[in-house]
């Protein structure tokens, strides 16, 4: 090295001379020693130990996450694509890397661009797990005022935000869901390309969705020229629309800038899922109520055709009655009120239903839940869709001296953490109305009871994902309650037996639904089938059809995934 630039800080000297002149401002020997010891503690004498691990709170990073961080900081020099399969902790890896750079003073400001739905979650995780003072971007002035910002990419790329972002120099840029940068002609890609940045992390589980050019665009954004110019890339690596050539060479080039951990890698172990359907027979009174409501819905459907919206709330009633009498009571009460608010007198149908509801004294499902919880004799999380059912269950469990805590979306963050804490340390059961964001993990629990099921497979998957995730050391057992001869039985059959939902790997469900064109409205679709079918047999036929569609979409998705895997590393996906 001929001339290594050296910068020596001398800003202290004036203060020191002032102290001498004024004979004041001197510290003591002990304070002087403490300053030196503090400096020694904060001094990092080598390039490559991970000091960030000291700061990690509340969890243990897994070996593959630590290795990934080391590789990105070392060989890849802070510009990398993190392409782990879903659920392996890309956020953790990015957090480790960011923290390490911050501890060493190499990163003072960073921008984390994520889909808007994930802004708060990212902020929370960085703060809680890594003690990184990240702030969610909310107002325009914040771009200049904060060092670590988490923002939505859609906001950032639009004026007036855009020019603020483009004016700053970012020591580190993290982009989550980076497959949105696969097309060079999009605003997203051009925006990221224009930004001034030192280190860059692009996070995506699917670096290739359709063809090689997506990968080329991603890598070029990260390190222009890494895969050569577009034309030379085409001649060297592209044989046809979806066909690569010189694959080994391509893979080698890509792996210089991309890390992809997979479930099938030996060192990452997922435990098994065991799934059981628990059939519950309704008591004669419950049966009468269910039939009464079904009858009521049919009549309503025939009398006011076309008014689908009000019919949907009736289907809800039918679902609720499968969950509990209490859940149905609320909806029925509302119907009741709506009618009595008007001038008409109460319709005999509603009065009849109210009578049936009153007749139900014991609830078969509750008894089954109590029996099962006692039999399991270990921590259990019970999921239900309905508040009323939740209250009912907590009451029933407590009456039987089983300590149960509630959990729901409306709880403040603190309360959520607190409930989780009690569940971990003292309670046997948690009764939850929602799966909660990524924030909560309940790996210490190995049993799930789906007291009733959401009709959206994504939400089913989220429930299971709270428990069956990386870090779970034991097999997980899932019990799905199905009341016999009800719509619930149909749904459980569809989700469990027909499409084997409970075994589908995390992260694929949404892709499959998207492929079916059903991403947003699975529930609506199911309701329509239930309303429009003449009888049980037709329902069965329709659901069967839907199941077949799901299976073939799943098949397609899997084939695509396999193709991509072969392209990226020559192996099969897990």
């Amino acid at each position: 090295m001929e001339s290594l630039p050296i910068r020596v800080d001398r800003t202290w000297l004036n203060d020191f001379l002032k102290n001498m002149e004024q004979e004041s401002g001197w510290s003591t020997w002990e304070r002087y020693r403490l300053a030196l010891e503090a400096a020694e503690l904060q001094c990092i004498p080598d390039f490559d130990t991970l000091r960030c691990l000291e700061y990690v709170t509340g969890f243990e990073p897994l070996p593959h996450q630590i290795e990934t961080a080391q590789k990105v900081l070392g060989q890849m020099k802070g510009r990398a694509i993190l392409a782990d399969e879903v659920g392996l902790g890309k956020t953790i890896e990015a957090g480790l890397i960011l923290k390490e750079y911050m501890v060493r003073g190499l990163v003072k400001n960073a921008l984390i661009l994520v889909p808007s739905s994930l802004v708060l979650q990212w902020t929370r995780e960085l703060n809680q797990k890594f003690q990184i003072p990240a702030t969610p971007q909310k107002k325009e002035w914040m771009w200049d005022q904060y060092d670590i910002l988490v923002a939505s990419i859609d906001t950032a790329k639009r004026d007036p935000h855009r020019s603020k972002v483009l004016n700053r120099h970012y020591d580190l840029l993290i982009v989550d869901e980076a497959h949105k940068l696969k097309n060079r002609r999009t605003k997203n890609w051009q925006f990221i390309n224009e930004m001034k940045k030192k280190y860059t992390l692009l996070l995506t589980a699917t670096p290739i969705q359709n063809d090689l050019h997506e990968l080329y665009n991603l890598v070029t954004l990260l390190k222009p020229g890494q895969l050569g110019q577009q034309t030379s890339f085409n001649t060297t690596y592209v044989a046809g629309k979806r066909k690569p050539k010189n694959e080994d060479q391509l893979r080698e080039e890509v792996h210089r800038v991309m890390i992809r951990n997979k479930r099938s890698d030996g060192h990452i172990s997922f435990t098994k899922r065991h799934v059981h359907t628990v059939r519950v027979t309704l008591s004669p009174e419950e049966r009468a109520l269910y039939e009464g409501i079904t009858q009521f819905i049919r009549e309503q459907y025939q009398s006011n055709r076309g008014q689908l919206k009000s019919l949907l709330s009736l289907i809800t009633l039918q679902r609720e009655v499968c969950s509990s009498r209490d859940a149905a009571f609320h909806t029925l009460f509302k119907l009741f009120k709506r009618e009595s608010d008007g001038l008409e007198s109460l319709s005999p149908e509603v009065l009849h239903l109210a009578g049936l509801l009153r007749a139900v004294q014991t609830q078969s499902k509750v008894n089954e839940a109590l029996r099962l919880v006692k039999e399991i004799n270990d921590k259990v999380i019970i999921f239900t869709e309905y508040r009323a059912t939740q209250d009912l269950l907590i009451r029933a469990l407590n009456e039987h001296n089983i300590y149960a805590v509630p959990y729901r979306g409306g709880f403040a963050r603190n309360k959520k953490d607190w409930m989780r804490e009690i569940f971990q340390t003292r309670a046997q059961v948690m009764v939850a109305t929602e799966a909660g964001g990524e924030g909560i993990n309940l790996q210490f629990c190995h049993h799930i009871i789906n007291y009733d099921l959401p009709w959206n497979p994504m939400r089913v998957e989220q429930r299971i994902g709270r428990i069956h995730r990386l870090g779970q050391s034991e097999d997980v057992t899932i019990f799905n309650f199905a009341t016999e001869n009800t719509i619930e039985e149909h749904i459980v059959w569809l989700l469990h037996e027909k499409i084997d939902m409970f075994r589908t790997v995390i992260g694929e469900v949404d892709t499959i639904l998207e492929k079916m064109g059903l991403k947003e409205d699975v529930e609506q679709n199911l309701m329509r089938i239930l309303i429009e079918s003449k009888d049980d047999q037709e329902i069965q036929v329709q659901l069967d059809k839907l199941g077949d569609q799901f299976a073939s979409a799943e098949e397609q998705v899997r084939t695509e995934i396999e193709k991509r895997e072969v392209l990226m590393d020559g192996t099969q996906s897990s």
Partner: protein, 270 residues
């Protein structure tokens, strides 16, 4: 860092900065902070602004520190200090801030000195944190002393200061020998010495970083078309990418002064 190390450093810090010790239990320390420490390790600038504006009696916080989780007496809110805890890092920063400059006289009673005065030799002692940077970073702490009368420089001078007693006032019957070098001159000498020291370190890392940088620049030059074929935007983009590579990789050294002390030592051979 082990919990007991965190504990002992915390204890020393709290005592050195006049915090009132309520209980020193093996598992925890309970203390009422001094105002100075409260301002440094608890972030509540508005409280302090309010108290000072209104002329109120300040109420510094009482905290209970633990060093391993769950060691607090039940029902008490614990403040867990680990080496990575933000509060502990704040203590370190606070300690570094307030302990930077000292002027001390060696406290040694001269034997059998009835009259006259014993001289002190003046030394300037600096602690430097030398950081070696490229896309990565490592630090080195170095302690240097310079004899202000001769200009002689000694590395690892901190050793020489250990095991002596100090006082901040010039004791009776002592006088300081005049310095030949002014402080800025002495600092200049130390910096010059430090430069030589840095150049004598193993600088393979810097060579490697330079090679890497050149590779990156070459890759960029190969990627972008010839100058005359580029639009203004593309030209600007290329310039930006080149700047980023330099920013990321260029090897350099940054030196920060951790502490500076003026020490008056009793000559070994008076």
């Amino acid at each position: 860092m082990e919990p007991n190390q965190v504990r002992s450093l915390t204890l020393r810090y709290l005592e050195a900065y006049d915090c009132h010790m309520i209980e020193k239990h093996p598992d925890y320390i309970e203390t009422r902070l001094s105002i100075e420490v409260d301002k440094d390790i608890i972030q509540r600038p508005f409280y302090w602004m309010y108290v000072e504006k209104m002329g109120l009696e300040p109420q510094p916080a009482t905290l209970l520190f633990t060093f391993e989780p769950g060691k607090a007496p039940s029902g008490v809110r614990e403040d867990l200090l680990t080496s990575g805890a933000p509060r502990f890092q704040q203590m370190l920063r606070s300690a570094r801030n307030h302990g930077r400059f000292v002027r001390l006289y060696e406290d040694k009673r001269p034997r059998l000195l009835k009259e006259g005065s014993l001289p002190y030799e003046p030394w300037l002692v600096l602690h430097y944190q030398v950081s070696f940077l490229c896309d990565r970073k490592k630090d080195h702490l170095i302690s240097l002393g310079i004899d202000l009368r001769t200009g002689a420089i000694s590395e690892g001078f901190d050793q020489q200061l250990q095991g002596r007693d100090w006082t901040h006032k010039l004791p009776d019957r002592r006088h300081t020998l005049p310095s030949i070098l002014s402080i800025p001159e002495a600092v200049g000498e130390l910096e010059y010495w430090l430069q030589g020291w840095i150049e004598n370190q193993d600088l393979t890392w810097a060579d490697q970083a330079m090679d890497q940088l050149n590779q990156e620049l070459a890759q960029l030059h190969a990627f972008y078309p010839e100058e005359w074929r580029m639009s203004d935007e593309l030209h600007e983009e290329k310039k930006q990418r080149l700047r980023e590579s330099i920013w990321q990789y260029h090897p350099r050294v940054e030196v920060e002064t951790v502490s500076a002390g003026l020490f008056y030592l009793t000559p070994t051979h008076p």
